[in-house]
Amino acid sequence: MELRWVREDTPVWDADKKRVIGGAPDGAFVIPFADGEELPGEWWSVRDGDPGSDAVVGYGRLDTTWGGDAEILLAVDPDRQRQGIGSFVLAGLEAEAAARGINYIHNRVREHAQRDLVHDWLVVRGFRGPLDGDLRKRVRAGGRAPREVRRPAQPSEPYDVGADPGGRAPGHEEQGGYVDVDEHRY
């Protein structure tokens, strides 16, 4: 699989975003936009295939509210999950943030059916924060944004989140769940 990171110079609410972002579980995103409406923030799409292909499989967005931290939005095509695309988007957003001198990225997981899993997914990737509050991660300044990355970040699932509905997994370590020391960097 070859993934490409493509900046959207004039992001609008379109069919691909409806399919990818609108395909998330109910409540995961607030989508107040009308068809064709221009979108605030900086957007990137992830495309699978040769240059020129329109097969969008994910989106990332940075919303820099104050200079120094930015909220991320990350969405993966519902039919293409568990293939490392989310990790690819996150790596892209971190690099873009670092290139802008941003020190921290943050995200809040809204209440929806897979909230615990998404929260844990972010915690495994270095975010810190409560389930119902801000999750924050330090990004390194001085990085270069990946204009065209030919190899995706390898999927790095230390456990099968889908097979762990009881929550004894990363993010639930206080209850004795599995902890991947390397991923958590304790």
């Binding site: 605030p40 509210t65 931290d69 001198g101 020190n103």
Partner: protein, 495 residues
């Protein structure tokens, strides 16, 4: 009286003069003694704050400093001045007077009573706003830690320390809100405010400009003029918040912040005044000649101005932000002088123009107002910044010189927002990479410029005397003479 056509006249002063309780371990006007649990939690945080102050606060040992301390939160007679050992400064919790009839003035809750508790759906957003604001307060103290070693006068040294202790108090203001309204998570965030440090590789302060090193006093003055002014505008938007304790906290912080603006405005003005004197005496603006005469050349002052304005503009974030719009609609964060704006205070149907770069040109497009509130605030800020530049230029005009300082274009040297990734000259010309690389040294301070300024930063600790690169102020602090003993250094105590 306001001359801005968008706003009405300034509101009449209101509010009684309430006293602050200094008999408590933590001075306050929030009846802390009636909430023992909160009081204990804050008393638990207090020694950690003092440890931080001793470790990362001002490095120059002093016996005591002539500082102002808030004794009331009304509009008049609010401060007391006296010599105080800095580590014994009474950092406390002061909120502006409550208005029991206060309502939300904007957004979808417009007209409803202001909130005394936090609605659950806004808890995370409000905590983020308070954490980011709180993170900037100790950051500037850390940035300015060693400046006392090169103070141009005892008067300026005192002003530096006044700014430092009040930034420390502003940290207290935010920590109070975190402890009082956000439970365990708030207490954890309050701990983190002391653990992140300016410039720390692993755990830096959140906002970019608060991780830049304050290398010398010219940068300190530029920082207090441009970057503290960003703080003024952010506080001004939080002062409008539907969450009343936050609004009242920020209203009082703004009162203290005014002194920080004064330090920046007059600091640069006195620097320019001295440079103008030297230029006039020499009959030249030649950089080496001015440096040789012990003043800071105007072109270096301009470069420092360019740099600090640009990094401070970045603090406002992207021109368009969904979060900023959501904060407004939810009532969390208003606009500068919200209640004086002549519109519907909801903004759902409003638009405005925004600059962006396309095909090597700066163009304009119409965008929804709600998405562009960062830009709205930044524009207010930039207009305010221009006032100081006019004041500084008055010094040059008074000296009969033709040279002038200018505020650079909003797109100059930007890393955040619509201009990020583009190169724009101070006059607003979009440049290619090669031209930028060739010219950037003319517009931004080089290491050599900073070294030249640093070489002039020789401490002057004799009362009433001033380093050669800066003119004395016209008056002292709190009607004291300029030569007043504002600071007693530690060596005096030993001697």
């Amino acid at each position: 009286m306001s001359t801005d056509p968008r706003t009405g006249p300034a509101p009449s002063p209101t509010g009684p003069l309430s006293k602050i309780d200094y008999s408590e371990r933590i001075p306050n006007n929030v009846n802390l003694a009636e909430d023992r649990r909160l009081q204990r939690a804050l008393e638990g945080w207090q020694p950690k704050f003092l440890d931080w102050w001793k470790t990362l606060g001002p490095a120059l040992p002093t016996r005591d400093v002539y500082l102002r301390t808030a004794i009331a939160v009304g509009r008049d007679g609010w401060a007391h001045f006296d010599h105080v050992p800095m580590e014994e400064y009474r950092w406390g919790i002061f909120l502006a007077e409550a208005n029991p009839d206060r309502v939300v003035n904007f957004g979808k809750h417009k007209g409803e009573p202001a909130w005394q508790e936090i609605p659950g759906e806004h808890r995370a957003d409000l905590m983020r706003l308070i954490v980011v604001q709180g993170d900037t307060e100790p950051a500037s103290v850390e940035q300015q830690r060693i400046l006392g070693n090169t103070a141009p006068s005892i008067y300026d040294l005192r002003n530096l320390f006044q700014v430092n202790v009040e930034e420390g108090r502003h940290l207290w203001a935010m920590v109070y809100l975190l402890h009082a309204y956000f439970g365990r998570e708030g207490r954890e965030e309050a701990e983190q405010l002391l653990k992140r440090n300016s410039g720390d590789v692993d755990s830096p302060r959140i906002l970019g400009a608060f991780n830049e090193e304050t290398t010398d006093w010219l940068q300190f003055f530029m920082f207090t003029y441009f970057t503290d002014r960003d703080g003024k505008y952010q506080l001004g938007t939080l002062k409008e918040s539907a969450f009343d304790p936050l609004a009242r906290t920020c209203e009082f912080m703004l009162k203290e912040e005014a002194h920080h603006m004064f330090v920046g405005t007059t600091g640069v003005q006195r620097t320019v005044e001295r440079t103008a004197q030297v230029m006039k005496e020499l009959g030249t603006a030649d950089r080496d000649a001015v440096l040789e005469a012990g003043a800071i050349p105007l072109d270096i002052i301009q470069k420092y101005l360019n740099f600090q304005f640009a990094v401070s503009m970045d603090l406002f974030g992207s021109e368009q932000s969904t979060n900023a719009g959501n904060y407004y609609s939810s009532g969390l964060k208003g606009r500068w002088q919200e209640t004086r704006r002549k519109d519907d205070h909801v903004l759902l149907d409003d638009t405005r123009m925004m600059n962006y770069v396309e095909d090597g040109e700066i163009r304009q497009k119409e965008v929804p107002m709600l998405s562009a509130l960062n830009l709205d605030l930044r524009d207010e800020y930039a207009a305010d910044c221009a006032n100081g530049v006019r004041r500084w230029n008055q010094e040059l005009e008074d000296a009969g010189l033709e040279e002038r300082l200018t505020l650079p274009h909003e797109g100059f040297n930007r890393r955040v927002g619509a201009y990020a990734g583009h190169h724009v000259s101070p006059s607003g010309e979009v440049l290619d990479e090669a031209t930028w690389e060739q010219r950037a040294g003319d517009w931004l301070p080089s290491p050599e410029d900073r070294r030249a300024v640093a070489a002039l930063m020789v401490p002057e600790y004799e009362y009433g005397k001033f380093a050669g690169w800066i003119a004395p102020p016209k008056t002292g602090i709190n009607d004291q003479p300029v030569e007043f003993d504002y600071v007693h250094l530690a060596e005096e105590g030993v001697a």
